[in-house]
């Protein structure tokens, strides 16, 4: 599903430049649930953003579902993101003046679906994350766990090939973290390819594979025995 080869990325800081990724190679098959681990500043988010086409690598090859991702302009990147990728952020990033349902329906709007279909699909996904009764609530009326579940529903609504989650449990307590990870496992079991950035080993262990970054290179890449949430 995902194939990256020799990904390099550096940030310019004034005159000097900071080499963040120094040759990353990963292959991720369809249906995998991969945790990306590493200490703060190790480049986890940078890697995920490159995979999410929010950022571009300086060097290297990126193939998504056998499509070579190159020469991205903003418009094309937006279309690919809309079609292939779903995002879940640590800080939820829901639009605060839109109801849960409208938030979930938003990527469908950019897909050009008609309103009826959007509403119906969005409601389906809200129900899937157990928030069918909360569709008309604003984000401010939801708990952190509920917000993240709305965000997951939103990421799924456009039926992406890959779900990218950057510390989805970073802002949640352990009980709600487990709920959210349970949901992610459930979605993964239905066949969705998912990448989860985390620096908590407990969360990483709920995935099927752990990739550990250190100083811009892959320190370790191993399959683990998944800790299932009931």
């Amino acid at each position: 599903m995902i194939e990256i080869k020799n990904i390099y990325k550096s940030y310019k800081m004034g005159n000097s430049s900071l080499q963040v990724l120094k040759g990353i190679n990963i292959e991720i098959a369809e249906g995998e649930l991969v945790a990306i681990m590493g200490s703060s500043g190790s480049g986890k988010s940078t890697l995920l953003n490159i995979l999410g086409m929010l950022d571009v690598a300086d060097e290297g090859v990126y193939k998504l579902d056998d499509v070579l991702i190159e020469n991205l302009d903003e418009t094309l990147a937006a279309k690919y993101r809309n079609k292939f990728l779903g995002f879940v952020f640590q800080s939820f990033n829901l639009i605060n003046y839109k109801s849960a349902l409208e938030n979930v329906a938003l990527p469908l709007y950019y897909q050009g679906l008609n309103r009826k279909l959007r509403q119906k699909t969005a409601l389906d996904y809200l129900e899937k994350v157990g928030l069918g009764n909360w569709s008309s609530h604003l984000p401010s009326e939801l708990s952190g766990g509920q917000k993240q579940r709305v965000a997951i529903a939103r990421a799924l609504a456009s039926q992406p090939k890959v779900l990218l989650a950057d510390e989805p449990t970073g802002a949640l307590d352990s009980v709600t973290s487990n709920e959210v990870m349970g949901l992610i496992q459930q979605i993964n079991n239905e066949g969705k390819t998912i990448l989860v950035v985390t620096h908590e080993i407990d969360i990483a262990n709920m995935c099927k594979r752990i990739v550990t970054l250190k100083d811009g290179v892959i320190l370790e890449d191993k399959k683990v025995k998944q800790v299932l949430i009931s």
């Binding site: 929010l54 937006a78 993101r81 639009i95 709007y109």
Partner: protein, 424 residues
């Protein structure tokens, strides 16, 4: 999605309503800026139009390109004559003037009793008696100054002149003062300076016709001549030039010709007097045009300031919404779609503001009209803004709204989504 489809897509507008409704205070304050602008524009240019109409009404019963010419006293000795001589206008001068000055459309010699210091005539009807001004007129006079005659009456005609008929057209006030309220004066007789005249019409008095009043009595020029023994003398000429002619130039030519006929020095500026309505009218209309132009400039400048305000607020709003726009782009909004949304927000706000401004401005004009409608002496009539000007204002606002919206729109897409998302 192409851009036309975006504009006509209900969902686009829902997105825009959503983000506009999100911050009502911001929206209202923004809207007020432009609303104020268009309000000023509409009320100012409407008022200017009202003033324009008002001035025009003041002159509606006299030809725009007309003038009065009379003889005064010479101020330069010439061909054996001393200073201070009073040339006497003659009826024959009218023919000469008409022949020599092709720009003259109509020329009406007039005589009058009761104006310019002469004593008015005593007019008697049964036991009632009052002094009134008497004018000796040709029918052509009505070609220059409209005389509205009440039903079943008429003005002096060529036959009256030819047969020196003793007929008269009286004024509204004359009727009121000499006749009983239920009496029809037409066909009745009045005694003007001891001669019986048959009333042939009552003229409706219209404000603004120079020195004429609602009591004036018009009689045929020839009858007047007989009655007062004026011979060929004429008190003054009322002259109308063709529309294409320049009234001031015609006045000059007329004076020049009169000077030649009456052997007055060509340099003598005082020998003949003139009141040039064309000139006055041009000046007043120039003033009204200036007012219209000024109101246009002030109005447009105010609108412009309002639109700048919208741009400013949208700029702030775009900065506030950096993260939201980042999220939208992560979810698949293309830069074009983001830009379009901001521009449409701008256009929507300006248009809404514009429409409300037009409505308020119209109310204002209606109110002003209500207060001035029965003041006929106040030069202000029917204040309106021509539809093209209103549509033009709306078009300008949509255009300005688009242009000004492009700035925040460009700013919104100039931030990379990754940076927008990082924003806290």
């Amino acid at each position: 999605m192409n851009s036309l489809k975006i504009i006509f897509d209900w969902d686009t507008w829902q997105e825009i309503f959503g983000s506009i409704a999100k911050n009502k205070t911001r929206t209202i304050i923004t809207v007020i800026g432009v609303l104020w602008g268009i309000f000023i524009y509409i009320s100012l240019s409407g008022s200017a139009k009202g003033l324009d109409n008002g001035f025009e009404r003041q002159f509606e019963n006299i030809a725009m390109n007309s003038m009065f010419i009379w003889a005064a006293r010479t101020s330069i000795p010439y061909s054996g004559f001393k200073v201070g001589r009073s040339p006497q206008l003659k009826i024959q001068n009218a023919t000469t003037l008409k022949q020599q000055i092709p720009e003259i459309q109509f020329i009406a010699p007039r005589n009058a009793k009761g104006v310019f210091g002469s004593i008015p005539a005593q007019v008697v009807r049964k036991n009632k008696s009052k002094p009134y001004n008497i004018y000796g007129d040709f029918p052509v006079y009505t070609k220059i100054a409209t005389k509205k005659i009440y039903d079943n009456g008429r003005f002096i005609n060529d036959e009256d002149i030819k047969y020196e008929r003793k007929v008269c057209v009286i004024g509204e006030r004359t009727q009121l003062e000499l006749f009983e309220p239920d009496e029809d004066p037409v066909g009745q007789y009045v005694r003007i300076d001891d001669v019986y005249f048959k009333v042939i019409g009552v003229h409706k008095f219209i404000q603004g016709g120079g020195f004429e009043t609602d009591g004036d009595i018009f009689i045929p020029f020839e009858t007047y001549r007989k009655l007062y023994n004026t011979g060929d003398d004429v008190d003054w000429f009322t002259i109308a030039a063709y529309d294409y002619a320049d009234a001031v130039a015609v006045e000059k030519k007329v004076k020049q010709t009169l000077k030649r006929i009456h052997r007055v020095s060509p340099e003598d500026e005082r020998a003949f007097g003139a009141f040039n309505i064309g000139e006055v009218f041009t000046k007043i209309m120039g003033f009204a045009k200036g007012m219209t132009f000024l109101s246009l400039v002030v109005g447009l400048a105010t609108i412009f300031a309002g639109v700048i305000g919208i741009g400013n607020i949208l700029m702030i709003s775009v900065n506030e919404r950096t993260k939201e726009l980042g999220v939208r782009r992560a979810l698949g909004a293309t830069p074009g779609e983001v830009r379009m949304q901001i521009v449409l927000e701008s256009v929507f706000l300006t248009t809404i503001a514009g429409i409300f401004g037009i409505i308020l401005g119209s109310f204002m004009l209606a109110a002003i009209n209500l207060f001035t409608i029965d003041k006929t002496d106040f030069p202000y009539t029917n204040p309106t803004v021509p539809i093209p000007l209103v549509l033009g204002a709306l078009l300008i606002m949509v255009t300005l709204g688009t242009l000004i919206g492009l700035i925040p729109a460009q700013r919104a897409v100039s931030i990379k989504p990754i940076d927008a998302l990082r924003e806290e």
